[in-house]
Amino acid sequence: MSQTITTTLTINGKRHSVTADPDTPLLWVLREQLKLTGTRYGCGVGQCGACTVHIDGKPNYACLNPIKDLEGRSVTTIEGLSPDSSHPLQKAWLAESVPQCGYCQSGQIMRAAGLLKDNPNPSRQEIVEYMSPNICRCGTYIRIARAIERAAKEA
């Protein structure tokens, strides 16, 4: 019933103007309007982290941020993490064969990227604490932790 609004924001370094219901979560704008489907829907309530993107450089839930709050802000999605899967985390993810079904992994990688940005050499305990908001139902946690350690070492 609400009127749509137009929001201008930067996504993966490019300016976009999108028109949507003001309450529409960024998640659905990314996925269905901009076709950036690497950011995934898992719970819609900030409980699983599958939709993790960076907003103004910090990991955040695309499902909890309505488009009306994003005017002028900067969003990075998995598609913008590197142009060619060359981010140390992406390489480490393959080296450790982390993904199983893979559905949560964009979010896991984006969250891990936030961790390494703040803390380039996290301890195992710091990794566990930082990564625990993100669910992987296949149970790849051990490999995620290993891959983050590898990326930290090889970056």
Binding site: M1, R40, G42, A50, W93, A145
Partner: protein
């Protein structure tokens, strides 16, 4: 097709038709029926395709050396998309770098799993074990045809030729032909050559099986390009959401959709035989409109009034009422007769609660029904390509040939996507039918929980008869739970003679030396939506069996590991995994403030054992698992690191089911709605996990879910060792653990 991938970079997208049909107006035959010995393409095929030679329904060779191999299983993270073609490539002696994996079309006749009676169904950790023999043979057939062609080309005896990866060699003359070169002149016989077992490679000759290769789709899973059905984009596509009744089968008594229709962007509200659908311009609008529907549901369905308490109560009565004969699952010797003669009889009861799959991708599907309504294209993540096609056809009243199937990656399966009715696919088909537009049908997480189909609730009643020496001479296992197979797959159920495979698996004890044993099902149709969930009945049943054996060991005063070794005296493989895990965990060493618990299982032939190390916070009853050691012998490990990954994952699943996960039913309806009230394991819940893979030369028997059932009994037995309290129900919630501790203290005092 979007998940076709090249072995090298996982990026290449190929059209399936190129392989299956070659060129318009030309067809080639493949025989149907099982075992699927294939009629190879006719010589004409060659003329019709300048570049690709369809050697059989599984393999297409290109003159550039590319070898396309069909993968009949779907990919949900378990790795079959890669490991099945790899088995074929092994016998074909293919250069793996030149292999392209192509997800096979939907066809039970050609691509069905022999283990499921020829159903194309990816489940039960049965892909490698079920397809292994045939894939080796198909690969060997293609290699044979290539050798024959080379022999003819050079005019040399067949027996003088050999292969190295993707090359035929004639050592005597030093000549060589690549598979791609042979493809340029190959004549394909109309009949597949006969391959005898001695023509297959010896295990020691394997170049691919047993060596790790990267799963083909993996690169797409680190950069967001992996395609699940939720990612499908079509021109003119709109969005659908569905409101289903809280109880299966409840009809709509009253529908008020005025508020939903008033929302801007809502296109249509559609009344369906089983619920209400809304169509909107965006997903967000569709969800809002669905939430605005006001429906009164008729109280005409069986499940109304059901609850967990009611389930436990009725099932307990059923399990203990020995006058009620169950449906026998495993019957060896005369268990009841032997029980009557036993010196002592020990009893135990163990319960498991409803549990939810929680695959990370909420169910969804995309469908596009033609303007005339006489054909449909579907994009979905299903565990059975053919079930999805059949369900879509049935929903529209059209022939299956009128359904174009696009198989997508699955964002987790765990048994949820293998129901015969494929209800989430039908949702999209019916909504698309209503508007004749492409529709992406999305379930919210809340829908996925509330419309969930759950692992049943279980009461297991166990009896063991012991002789003078304390050996088990009689074994009686009664399983009372909701019916599953009849709900999940009425077609399979109709030929099962009342046996519920999903509920009862794991009650068979092929490796334990107990001569007289009976397991039987006394099931109740409670009207609940039930399902296979990772490790199916093996989970609850092994929780009962391995907890009970721990109790029997205590009563006999024998060490639980020594007791299993005694029971496994006729199973060297079983004994080996037990001995190895005991060594890994340093079983005999006491730990201050911590308990160790042991469990062993045979799961479809795969041998596993585990030790859990736990502590318990007495004030709260909170269990903490510190270490978990596991050994697994799956026979031949086709992809060893993947077996380990699957074992890690299935342990994590086991932890959730053992400690936190349960669905609450109130008046037939699901109370939970999202991850804040359905708690799955997170990284902070992880113990140190130690896995030893012990491959043997036996037929591969599966690894996808085998460790899950080890976890709950190993933890419960560890809690017992530490506290003397026996926890008899999963999940072992703190409140219940506390009660068990209090009970134990009362007994001791």
């Amino acid at each position: 097709m979007t998940i076709n991938a090249q072995a090298k970079d996982g990026q290449i997208v190929m059209s399936r038709r190129r392989f299956m049909v070659g060129a318009a107006g030309f067809t080639f035959g493949v025989t149907v029926g099982l075992p699927a010995v294939l009629k190879l393409a006719s010589g004409e095929a060659l003329a019709a395709t300048s570049k690709d030679v369809v050697v059989n329904a599984w393999v297409t060779l290109s003159t550039d050396g590319t070898i396309a191999i069909m993968s009949p299983a779907v990919e949900m993270g378990q790795g079959s998309l890669t490991s099945l073609p790899l088995i074929l490539a092994e016998e074909l002696d293919a250069d793996w770098a030149r292999v392209r994996i192509v997800p096979s079309p939907a066809s039970d006749a050609i691509y069905g799993n022999p283990l499921f009676g020829g159903l194309q169904y990816t489940a039960g950790s049965a892909a490698v074990t079920g397809y292994y023999k045939n894939l080796r043979m198909f690969g060997a057939q293609v290699r044979y045809v290539l050798l024959e062609n080379a022999a003819r080309h050079w005019g040399v005896p067949f027996g003088e030729l050999a292969t190295i990866p993707s090359v035929v060699l004639h050592e005597k003359s030093g000549r060589r032909l690549t598979y791609g070169e042979i493809a340029a002149f190959a004549q394909i016989p109309s009949k597949a050559p006969e391959i005898t077992p001695d023509m297959l490679k010896k295990t020691s000759e394997f170049r691919l099986i047993g060596k790790d290769v990267m799963r083909v789709e993996l690169p797409t899973k680190v950069n967001g390009t992996a395609q699940y059905s939720i990612d499908v984009q079509l021109p003119g596509m709109i969005y659908g959401a569905i409101l289903r009744p809280p109880v299966e089968g409840a009809a709509i008594e009253k529908l008020d959709d005025s508020a939903a229709r008033a929302i801007e962007g809502v296109i249509e509200v559609v009344r369906l035989p089983y619920g209400v659908g809304v169509l909107a311009e965006t997903p967000w609008t569709a969800f809002k409109a669905k939430n605005a529907l006001k429906v009164t549901w008729a109280r005409n369905a069986r499940g109304w009034g059901h609850s967990n308490e009611k389930g436990f109560r009725t099932f307990t009565v059923a399990a203990h009422d020995l006058s009620r004969k169950g449906v026998a699952w495993e019957q060896k010797g005369d268990a009841l007769g032997a029980m009557g003669k036993a010196k002592t009889v020990i009893e135990g009861e163990y319960r498991s609660d409803y549990a939810y799959h929680a695959q990370m991708e909420p169910l969804n599907s995309v469908a596009s029904v033609s303007a005339a309504g006489d054909s449909v294209e579907i994009w979905c993540g299903t565990q059975s390509q053919t079930m999805a096609v059949t369900a879509a056809a049935k929903a529209l009243g059209i022939k299956p040939e009128r359904v174009t199937f696009h198989g997508m990656l699955l964002g987790g399966g765990f048994g949820r996507r293998g129901h015969r009715d494929e209800e989430f696919v039908v949702d999209s088909v019916l909504l698309s039918k209503a508007v004749r537009k492409p529709v992406k049908l999305l379930w919210t997480r809340e829908d996925d929980v509330r419309n969930g189909r759950f692992r049943p609730l279980y009461v297991n009643y166990m009896r063991a008869g012991l002789d003078d020496a304390g050996h088990i001479v009689a074994w009686h296992h009664r399983v009372a739970c909701d019916t599953v197979l009849a709900f999940q797959d009425p077609v399979r159920y109709s030929t099962s003679k009342g046996k519920d495979n999903i509920a009862m698996r794991g009650t068979e004890l092929p490796t334990y030396n107990i001569p007289d044993r009976l397991s039987e099902a006394v099931q109740v149709d409670t009207g609940m939506r039930t399902s296979s969930l990772r490790a199916i009945g093996v989970g609850p049943n092994k929780f009962a069996i391995e907890s009970f054996l721990d109790e029997v060991a205590v009563k006999r005063g024998i060490d639980p590991v020594a007791f299993r070794l005694e029971l496994l005296k006729n199973s060297p493989r079983g004994r080996h995994v037990v001995e190895e895990v005991a060594k890994m965990a340093d079983w005999g060493r006491k730990r201050e403030g911590r308990g160790l618990g042991f469990a062993y299982i045979d799961y479809s032939g795969t041998q596993l054992a585990a030790v859990a190390e736990v502590s318990v916070e007495r004030a709260t009853g909170q269990i903490r698992v510190h270490n978990f050691w596991t050994t697994i012998d799956p026979g031949i490990a086709v992809q060893p690191d993947n077996v380990i990954a699957q074992t890690e994952g299935s342990i994590v699943t086991g932890l959730g089911l053992a400690l936190t996960e349960h669905i609450t039913i109130e008046d037939g309806a699901v109370k939970e709605s999202n991850f804040y009230d359905y708690q799955v394991p997170r990284m902070s819940d992880m113990p140190e996990i130690h896995i030893k893979l012990i491959p043997t030369d036996n037929h591969p028997t599966g690894a996808g879910q085998m460790a899950t059932p080890l976890v709950a009994p190993a933890i419960a037995n560890a809690v017992f060792q530490l506290t003397g309290a026996r926890v008899r129900q999963t999940p072992m919630l703190p409140g219940q653990v506390k009660l068990a501790l209090l009970e134990e203290e009362t007994k001791a005092a």
